[in-house]
């Protein structure tokens, strides 16, 4: 049984897949920063940024709508920004009836709200693409190259490695609980909230103990192979000419997008 929902990488032999992971990671971050710098209502810039995204989608051979389909994930948070529609001062655009109130949507509010949504939507798609064309272990290497402290990248590597193992254990714990969650006729089933919380807490505690003991065994395994406290890693990535070319191209493209934002 494989819980492949944790794998975001899609194997392909595209141009993007072959790029150095540092370049891809940096390009993503630069793109997101660029979006953050664009003012409200910078439609030309938004469209240019969107074209850049579509081009990246195509280059990845994953299909033009690949990131679009997966971008719904950020939607719920948009509700936080909904209130800006009514509360930014400006010319009223329209008003509607909500229960007994009549909130007024202003033009400035509408502009900001839509702009926030667009920026967020563009950024999340680029992040989705990043992990679709980069194997996560390579992304970790990219972080190491980019001077993220090694202890953090190592913890992340371990997290990734044991994610499946531990969530598998959680699923088994939850299945066991479910199998014993019966009801008998005539009685209200479910126990009280406090009892249910206690069961959940016990599961978490159980998982903690197993994880702790597992970490002891892993430590023994590491020691058996010579670990004495310092972790050595190989960083097998070398920048090729195509990587430099892409970096230059991305810088130029973002520059153009920003220019469009100032027009």
């Amino acid at each position: 049984m494989h819980f492949n929902a944790f794998d975001r990488y899609h194997e392909k032999e595209s141009f993007l897949h072959r790029l150095d992971p540092r370049v891809k990671a940096l390009a993503t971050v630069v793109y997101i920063i660029s979006n953050a710098l664009l003012p409200d209502g910078a439609w030309l810039a938004f469209i240019s940024a969107w074209i850049f995204l579509i081009a990246a989608n195509l280059l990845s051979q994953l299909g033009i709508g690949y990131t679009f389909k997966r971008s719904i994930i950020a939607l719920p948070f948009a509700l936080i920004a909904v209130t800006i529609l009514f509360s930014m001062p400006g010319k009223p655009v329209f008003t509607f009836q909500f229960l007994m109130w009549q909130p007024v949507v202003t033009d400035a509010g509408l502009l900001r709200f839509v702009s926030i949504l667009i920026r967020s939507w563009l950024s999340v798609q680029m992040a989705i693409l990043l992990v679709a064309v980069t194997r996560f272990p390579d992304l970790i290497h990219a972080l190491e190259h980019l001077r993220v402290p090694p202890i953090l990248t190592t913890i992340i590597a371990f997290l990734y490695r044991y994610l499946f193992v531990l969530t598998d254990e959680v699923i088994r714990l939850m299945r066991a609980r479910e199998s014993r969650s019966a009801a008998s006729a005539g009685n209200r089933s479910g126990g009280g909230v406090l009892w249910r919380a206690k069961v959940a807490g016990n599961m978490a505690g159980q998982l903690f103990l197993r994880s702790y003991e597992r970490s002891d065994r892993i430590y023994n395994a590491m020691m058996s192979r010579g670990y004495t406290g310092h972790l050595y890693t190989l960083n097998p990535h070398e920048m090729k000419s195509s990587d430099y070319f892409v970096t230059a191209f991305v810088v130029a493209a973002i520059f153009i997008v920003q220019l469009n934002g100032r027009l």
């Binding site: 494989h2 194997r135 996560f136 272990p137 970790i140 590597a157 371990f158 990734y160 490695r161 044991y162 994610l163 499946f164 193992v165 597992r214 065994r217 892993i218 023994n220 395994a221 590491m222 020691m223 058996s224 192979r225 010579g226 670990y227 004495t228 050595y232 890693t233 190989l234």
Partner: protein, 251 residues
């Protein structure tokens, strides 16, 4: 209650030079629970010995002493070198310990990184590390798995990669804890063939008596922290009294 038998001393192969020598090893856990009561045994180059006994006999505890993870009272020599606090790193290169659960042994995101871990920590240069990784994967017949992600592998595949992770250190002695546990018949057969072909001194702890009969000319029986029998597998497996006394079954 342990039944002591005379150690069979005939028909054992000529010793070529000890790879492993354990003399009077005693060990108790920090909580006071005694685990080893004076274990002594020798392994010579080329020996393939099975370590059997009921759960709690001290087999795993003994194995953890052989690369210094646990340390008790007594003498342990690996390839003539006395095991002390100071030469642990050197010893760990000589003793390849493969644990029971491969998930504990494969702790890197990719197969390559796991197999490279040992040689890297030995301070070997990068080219040498790569050569060793390739050789180790070749030895376990898993060269195509080099760039795979560890968590994608099946149990059988993980067990073989786990063996590769210690082979890359070129050890003199390979110690395996329950290698066939949890494997389906096909994976088990693949592993047995692999073990048969590895030209390396081996000590394998197992409950799988059919494996013992098929692969290991010598069997060491442990119970309650002591060695209670040490000799030819054929003879030990014929000794019904011995087997029953220590919770073993004839395959």
């Amino acid at each position: 209650m342990p039944v002591t038998h005379v150690i069979n001393s005939f028909e054992m192969p000529e010793c070529d030079g000890d790879v492993l020598s354990i003399r009077d090893l005693y060990f108790s856990y920090p909580d006071g629970h005694p685990a080893l009561h004076g274990v002594s045994l020798n392994l010579c180059r080329g020996d393939k010995a099975a370590l059997v006994g009921p759960n709690g006999a001290g087999k795993s505890t003994l194995m953890l002493h052989l690369n210094g993870i646990l340390s008790g009272r007594g003498e342990i020599e690996i390839a003539g070198q006395r095991l002390t606090r100071n030469n642990l790193p050197a010893v760990r290169a000589m003793v390849g310990l493969v644990f029971q659960s491969p998930d504990d042994q494969l702790f890197s995101p990719t197969v390559f990184e796991d197999v490279a871990f040992g040689p890297l920590h030995m301070g070997l240069p990068e080219t040498e590390v790569r050569t060793r990784v390739d050789a180790a994967l070749e030895a376990v017949r898993m060269s195509t798995y080099r760039d795979r992600l560890s968590h994608h592998l099946s149990v059988g595949e993980k067990k073989r990669i786990a063996i590769a992770t210690v082979l890359s250190m070129k050890p003199s002695l390979l110690i395996l804890d329950e290698p066939t546990a949890g494997l389906d018949p096909r994976a088990r057969r693949t592993l047995i063939n692999l073990l048969r072909e590895l030209p390396i001194t081996m000590l394998v702890s197992t409950h799988d008596m059919a494996l013992v009969k098929e692969l290991f000319p010598r069997t060491i029986v442990m119970d309650e922290g002591k060695v209670v029998a040490d000799g030819l597998t054929m003879e030990i497996l014929d000794d019904e009294e011995l087997l029953t006394a220590h919770g073993l079954e004839k395959p």
